[in-house]
């Protein structure tokens, strides 16, 4: 049956998936790029790269905006590739999630660049557990996917070539995840079929985990189509027929693939199609690092069934058949059936949009084949083929040029929208789906629980839900983007109370983190919060926003107290309410109550990194340093790239007089985000505590001119306190108070300022914000 596949260029040296052709021009580009165009782009890229090399990376969006618009797509691709390469040099992973959200106009380019992004080959990239393994020897690198890196390997005892997929640590950080991995591997190993890449072996321990598979010489179907264009319909049918045979074998032992996409279908050099990565998709359900999930979804969502979007774990073979239908559409047309500039849009399309007609793209496709796609892509699983064998039967008929066998409900050529709506799955549950994939899995599990109690947002809320998940990432770029989203929602729905409250929260965060001057951004937060409460006086988030601004900015403690308590009355299970209330209690020197509150927040949102790290911080401010270290380490175990975590751990270690260890933590914090000045300030403080006055002064030379601009007032006071220069320290504190810097409310409990407490100028400062020493 494989003879129907086209003659492809031999790929004998490239088993399994290998990154496709790299280069300047995209073969699918319609535009003809002249040497002059390419020179322009080269010059811009050179500047962009120089910026990276000098440690001052520039924002891609800024560069794009200055360039000529028609160059934008190609320029974006090149800039992104440079960006990803330099990030990888620093040991960072490609910021897929950020990029997808910031550049929704280029999903294909992002997918392409990020899938090509291979780390600079270095030997230590081969995981230690494989370096001197008793049975396996790594002979080369084959490629990198969402789950990890694939190596070419050799079984030393049996003498056969294998492919070894090393699963990224993030997927298997916990013992339960490792157990699930081994369980899935065991099931997958039972599946022996010519159309499935056989799993030979698996290993999982603390040191790492990998899966050993049959080595397949060939290319995946995504690459095949990318390079050679759509397949002739006979070849596409043949490929799907083979895949269906593999799926049927899996079904018989109760195995579901869950992540069918052209990347997971290997086309071997002999024309055999083999399904790859059975069961691996379930590993993503328990991922702790939120940035990974959108990255993994980039490749899969265009091929994901509507019901999987609702609950990724509840899917059966009919979901796989839907995925296979999407793959079939892709093989025939070169495109997945639905396009969307954002994740929610794409999910929405799978659920509600009428299926595009493949024959409109290519009239050569016989009606019988188009009908098969329609049946596969039926919105409701009950309307699809129920087993892969049923599909195989129709495919065989279609290949022979016969009409498919009549079915109880013959599918129309294009599924009308009305058919697609099943009454049991209406709007809210779809939004709940986004809630799970974006808000739920990604971060705010607690927020989802709260949503579940106080009503789900309505269908029009995808922008709002998106904004919320951006907000929960607590990073400057994302929060700014969230502000735009919420403003959008408000422009369309001026009575959307929750959008006003979320906007207020975004402003609060900008002020608290010092991304915007406090005096301009907090008043905006307060205004938005008031507006939200005018629309809905019982909105817990609105109360919380007011409380936060009162505690952080106006230092109006009565107001803060009142609003916090009201918010908690309305929503006793809202994690962020307990979280911020804990900070307020801490500032009031109620250390024990603060600890109780933050622990409550953590119980409500056990996977929330920010809350976890703030448990450590509250312990630090309560002078319980050893316990604080433990918490900070736990947070870092979840995410090693958590910059604030390294900083807070460092500061805690200093109080334990482990200054060298602290400096090592600060070193790890460098380069994770653009906020390296904070890290420099931390280093200066550590050096000052070590008595290294000269080194501290050197760093101060860099910090001094920048500190005022970025609002590092309290940090400067820390450094001068450690240097024993109370005059300078007080001067910086005074600045913090006159400029209403957000950190000033913590001054009363800050251990780093303890030596200053006896200074006659200290108490009046605190008194000015209503805190008695």
């Amino acid at each position: 049956m494989s003879t129907l596949l086209p003659n492809l260029p031999p790929n004998s040296a490239t088993p399994n998936s290998v990154p496709p052709d790299k280069g300047f021009s995209d073969p699918r580009d319609e535009v003809h790029w002249t040497a002059t165009n390419l020179k322009q782009i080269d010059a811009i890229c050179e500047q962009f790269e120089t910026a990276w090399l000098t440690g001052k990376p520039v924002d891609i969006r800024q560069v794009l905006e200055r360039a000529e618009p028609f160059l934008a797509p190609l320029l974006f691709r090149e800039l992104l590739a440079i960006d990803v390469e330099y990030r990888q040099r620093q040991g960072q992973s490609a910021p897929v999630a950020d990029v997808c959200l910031a550049f929704p106009e280029y999903p294909d380019i992002i997918r392409l660049v990020c899938s090509q992004a291979l780390p600079v080959a270095n030997d230590d990239a081969i995981p230690e557990m494989l370096v001197s393994h008793p049975r396996y020897e790594v002979t080369g690198r084959l490629g990198m996917g969402g789950m990890g890196t694939v190596f070419a390997g050799h079984h030393k005892v049996l003498g056969r070539d294998v492919a070894i997929k090393v699963i990224r640590h993030e997927f298997l950080a916990s013992v339960t995840a490792r157990e699930r991995f081994l369980r899935e591997a065991r099931t997958a190993a039972r599946l022996q079929h010519p159309n499935v890449v056989t799993v030979y072996d698996a290993e999982a321990s603390e040191a790492g985990q990998f899966l050993v598979m049959e080595a397949v010489s060939g290319a995946d179907l995504a690459r095949t189509v990318d390079e050679n264009g759509p397949l002739p319909w006979e070849a596409a049918c043949d490929a799907i027929l083979q895949a269906a045979a593999g799926l049927e074998a899996a079904r018989q032992i109760g195995l579901v693939h869950r992540d069918l996409s052209p990347r997971n279908l290997m086309l071997a050099d002999d024309g055999t199609v083999k399904l790859l990565d059975f069961g691996l998709a379930s590993l993503s359900f328990g991922v702790s690092d939120p940035s990974l999930v959108p990255g993994m979804l980039v490749g899969s969502v265009p091929f994901m069934s509507p019901e999987q979007a609702i609950d990724p774990s509840a899917s059966d073979v009919r979901s796989d058949l839907y995925g296979l239908g999407c793959v079939m559409f892709f093989l025939l047309t070169g495109k997945p059936p639905y396009a969307g500039s954002s994740l929610p849009e794409l999910l929405e399309a799978h659920r509600h949009h009428p299926l595009p007609d493949a024959r409109a793209v290519d009239p050569e496709i016989p009606p019988a084949v188009a009908a098969i796609i329609c049946r596969l892509l039926a919105k409701s699983p009950a309307d699809r083929y129920q087993t892969p064998s049923e599909l195989a039967k129709d495919l065989n008929h279609a290949i022979k040029g016969e009409q498919p066998q009549p079915t109880p409900e013959p599918p129309a050529t294009v599924v009308p929208v009305t058919v697609s709506k099943s009454p049991r799955r209406s709007g809210p549950s779809f939004l709940y789906a986004i809630g799970i994939t974006l808000v739920g899995i990604v971060l705010a599990i607690g927020y989802r629980q709260y949503l579940g109690k106080s009503g789900l947002p309505t269908v029009d809320d995808s922008a709002f839900v998106q904004g919320r998940s951006l907000l929960d990432q607590r990073q400057e770029r994302q929060v700014r983007l969230a502000i735009v989203k919420f403003q959008d929602v408000i422009a369309r729905q001026p009575k959307h109370a929750r959008a006003y409250a979320a906007l207020a929260e975004a402003y609060n965060l900008c002020g608290d983190y010092g991304w915007e001057p406090a005096t301009t951004v907090f008043p905006k937060a307060i205004a938005a919060a008031h507006r939200s409460l005018e629309l809905d006086p019982d909105l817990a988030e609105g109360r919380l926003d007011l409380a936060f601004a009162a505690a952080t900015y106006t230092c109006d403690w009565d107001e803060a107290d009142r609003q916090f308590r009201r918010a908690l009355e309305i929503a006793p299970n809202l994690p962020s309410a307990h979280h911020w209330f804990a900070w307020y209690l801490l500032q009031q020197r109620h250390f024990d109550e603060a600890l109780v509150e933050i622990q409550r927040a953590q119980e409500l949102a056990p996977d929330n990194l920010i809350i976890m790290s703030n448990v450590g911080k509250i312990l630090y401010f309560s002078r319980k340093y050893a316990a604080a270290v433990e918490r900070h380490r736990a947070a870092l175990e979840l995410d090693q790239d958590f910059q604030k975590g390294h900083m807070d751990l460092g500061y805690t270690l200093i109080e334990l007089n482990r200054i060298d260890e602290a400096l090592a933590e600060f070193d790890r914090a460098i380069g994770i985000s653009s906020h390296d000045l904070d890290v420099k300030a931390a280093r200066a403080y550590a050096l000052a505590r070590q008595g290294k006055k000269e080194a501290t002064q050197e760093l101060l030379k860099i910090l001094q001119p920048e500190a005022e601009r970025v609002g590092l007032f309290v940090e400067m006071a820390h450094i001068y306190t450690a240097l024993g220069d109370s005059d300078q320290a007080i001067r910086w504190l005074e600045k913090a108070f006159t400029q209403k810097a957000p950190g000033r409310a913590d001054v009363g409990v800050d251990p780093r300022l303890d030596p200053l407490r006896m200074d006659y100028r200290f108490a009046p400062l605190l008194k000015s914000i209503g805190i008695e020493q």
């Binding site: 052709d21 280069g23 300047f24 790029w33 002249t34 040497a35 782009i41 080269d42 090399l53």
Partner: protein, 202 residues
């Protein structure tokens, strides 16, 4: 349709941007060209006091790479040498025709047939001389940045080696290779248009 594997097919492939297309030709030419290049350079350095001129020469790079054993096999699709061989073959046909020397029996063979004829034989010393000059001229048409990349690639460096020598990213090497191919392709296109108009004028 020319049979695949023929020089004509390689040239069609080159126009479509597939540098691997010229690899078989290069493999046929490699050893002989290195020998010719060595001799060519020996005479050149006697004549040329100015060493810098030689340093910027494509042939100098060829000899250097070969001496350091850097051309074991040319599976690297970003290798520029096969491309240069084909471009030179084209050029030499063009020159022959403009000199009227390949006119036989009053009828013109097609360009592709001529190239086929040249490429199916071992390179002659004349071809080496032409190649030396033409390659250096092609190099001179590049801006300094891409030219550095070209020279390192002609030296037989991998993209990664070139990147670490120039202190830039691998992506930059890839991007510049694409730029180099485009610049050269446009030169060839102009050349072609030129010789076409010459032929029509005849």
């Amino acid at each position: 349709m020319p049979p695949s594997g023929s020089v004509t097919a390689w040239i069609a492939g080159l126009k479509a941007g597939k540098a691997t297309a010229a690899e078989p030709l290069w493999n046929r030419y490699f050893a002989r060209l290195v020998g010719l290049a060595r001799r060519k350079l020996a005479t050149a350095s006697q004549r040329l006091a100015d060493d810098e001129d030689v340093a910027l020469s494509a042939f100098k790079s060829l000899c250097q790479g070969a001496a350091e054993g850097r051309f074991p096999q040319l599976t690297d699709r970003d290798n520029l040498w096969p491309l240069l061989v084909v471009l030179t073959a084209r050029k030499s046909v063009d020159l022959l025709r403009s000199e009227g020397r390949s006119k036989r029996g009053g009828d013109w063979k097609s360009v592709s047939e001529e190239i086929e004829r040249i490429a199916s034989h071992e390179p002659t010393p004349e071809f080496a001389v032409l190649m030396n000059d033409y390659c250096d001229w092609l190099l001179s048409q590049l801006d300094p940045g891409p030219r550095e990349v070209a020279l390192l690639k002609l030296d037989g460096c991998t993209n990664q080696e070139a990147a670490s020598r120039l202190g830039c990213g691998i992506r930059t090497i890839e991007r510049r290779l694409e730029l180099i191919r485009r610049v050269w392709a446009e030169i060839v296109e102009q050349d072609e248009a030129h010789s076409l108009s010459r032929e029509t004028a005849r």
